[in-house]
């Protein structure tokens, strides 16, 4: 992982408050767990029916029946629980999930999220993303600021099919921490070495800049 990505993930880990129930989306969000202190009180949830996700295991120590929603062989910790898929999403939809960190193809300045389908190119199905994005108490996106071609992911409006409308509260990217506010995107923090002009250029929508000093991460 690049240094910028690594710092972004470490910064996102501070989003997690003690006592929360948290679902970390497949990919980068899963890495957030590596930046939490060993005795940090948190409950990690996996859609396939697990609370209390323990460390990922190498193949030779893996339990063939114990994976997370991304297919990684994980482990339990004292107090882990297994349950069925209906109960798992009951937890998501009934407000018991304090936070989800998700990846994104596009995020709009009104909080719209597109992260599951690129018509004609990528349509593997929505999985659990739609319920996480609709019902987690707080939806936060963790993503590179631009896609692989350098196109901005933070936009005035999403062009791809939506996962959820107006649900994203904050974006952690390799360039900045950006909140979604009633007035649109608002810069909160800048990654070390990123200039305001570079950020503006990489962002596909207006971004409010605070008058005070901008913290870096």
């Amino acid at each position: 992982m690049s240094d910028a990505k690594s710092r972004m993930v470490a910064r996102a880990a501070r989003e997690i408050a003690p006592g929360m129930v948290v679902n970390l989306g497949i990919g980068l969000p899963t890495q957030v767990v590596n930046h939490l202190p060993a005795d940090f009180p948190v409950c990690l949830h996996s859609e396939n029916g697990l609370t209390g996700i323990g460390p990922t295991l190498p193949y030779d120590r893996a339990d063939r029946n114990l994976i997370d929603a991304g297919g990684a062989y994980v482990s339990t910790i004292p107090g882990s629980a297994f349950f069925d898929s209906a109960v798992s999403f009951a937890l998501v939809r009934s407000g018991r999930l304090d936070l989800t960190l998700l990846g994104a193809f596009e995020v709009a300045q009104n909080g719209d999220l597109a992260n599951w389908k690129i018509p004609g190119k990528f349509s593997p199905g929505v999985g659990g993303a739609i319920e996480l994005a609709h019902k987690a108490r707080r939806v936060v996106v963790l993503t590179t600021h631009c896609d692989r071609k350098g196109n901005p992911k933070l936009l005035e409006a999403c062009s791809l099919p939506l996962t959820a409308r107006g649900r994203v509260a904050r974006i952690y990217s390799d360039m900045a921490v950006v909140d979604v506010t009633p007035a649109g995107f608002a810069l909160r923090e800048l990654a070390e070495g990123v200039s305001l002009s570079a950020l503006r250029e990489a962002t596909g929508a207006p971004i409010l800049i605070p008058h005070a000093d901008i913290p870096t991460f």
Binding site: P18, G19, V21, V33, L36, A38, D39, F40, P41, V42, C43, L44, H45, L50, T51, G52, T76, I77, P78, G79, S80, A81, F82, F83, A86, V87, F89, A90, L91, V92, R93, S94, G95, R96, K135
Partner: protein, 230 residues
């Protein structure tokens, strides 16, 4: 990482319940009824409560204390047959009573716990249980809309619990407890035994702790928990 500790004092947790709260109460007859939580609720005296429970217990037990104290504005139950006091209070107009079919009550609460809006069912069609209920045509069939039901608080009785709130139940004391434990803003579980984290095997968890807010350990079981000789 470790799982958060939710152990708390019984009196403090009951004190969080305001007047006017909707309270889900586990139990079917004696088994699974959280008598200690109910005794404290009766002692503290919160009023205007809406109580959701399978039954009204028997005279002198469980939610009958709340009814006798005049703390209950409305009961949502499946039957009152074993509690003459509750029937008298209903007939006198002292409490409002909404009757639900037993499995439909369970499903309405479960729907609340599952973040659904309602279930559609044909149970009750052709009977007075259908009166006043919204109907929907679906693929040529008429269905009743049974809205999801949630509580401000759920009072749960567990056989064992760990500090995170992973719960097990004993025998038929399970009944409404698992669905109610999913369906309230604040879930308070009393437990006969508190085990350390890891003391409930992950496969043996009946209610995952992520649904539970507070765990209170019972130091002793009152007479109400015992065998009822009729």
């Amino acid at each position: 990482m470790k799982l958060p500790d939710k152990t708390a004092a019984l009196e403090d947790m009951i004190a969080t319940i305001p007047d006017g709260a909707t309270v889900l109460v586990g139990g079917f007859g004696v088994p699974g009824t959280p008598f200690a939580l109910l005794q404290e609720l009766a002692r503290q005296g919160q009023r205007d409560l809406v109580v959701v429970k399978n039954d009204a217990n028997e005279a002198g037990m469980g939610i009958d204390h709340l009814i006798a104290n005049g703390q209950v504005r409305k009961l949502i139950v499946t039957h009152l047959g074993l509690n003459a006091n509750a029937i008298a209070a209903m007939n006198a107009g002292a409490i409002e009573v909404e009757f639900c079919a037993q499995g439909i009550l369970a499903e309405r609460i479960r729907a609340g716990g599952a973040g659904l809006g309602a279930i559609l069912t044909d149970i009750g069609l052709g009977t007075e249980m259908a009166q006043g209920k919204q109907q929907v045509e679906m693929a040529g069939r008429t269905m009743l809309v049974e809205p999801a039901l949630r509580g401000d608080v759920a009072l749960i009785h567990a056989a064992s619990a760990d500090p995170f709130g992973n719960l097990t139940y004993a025998a038929t004391a399970r009944n409404f407890n698992p669905v109610m434990a999913m369906a309230a803003t604040r879930v308070i579980a009393e437990t006969e035994v508190l085990v350390p984290l890891g003391g409930v095997a992950p496969d043996a968890v009946a209610t995952p702790g992520a649904f539970v807010d507070h765990v209170v350990t019972l130091s002793a079981l009152s007479q109400e928990y015992g065998i009822v000789r009729r």
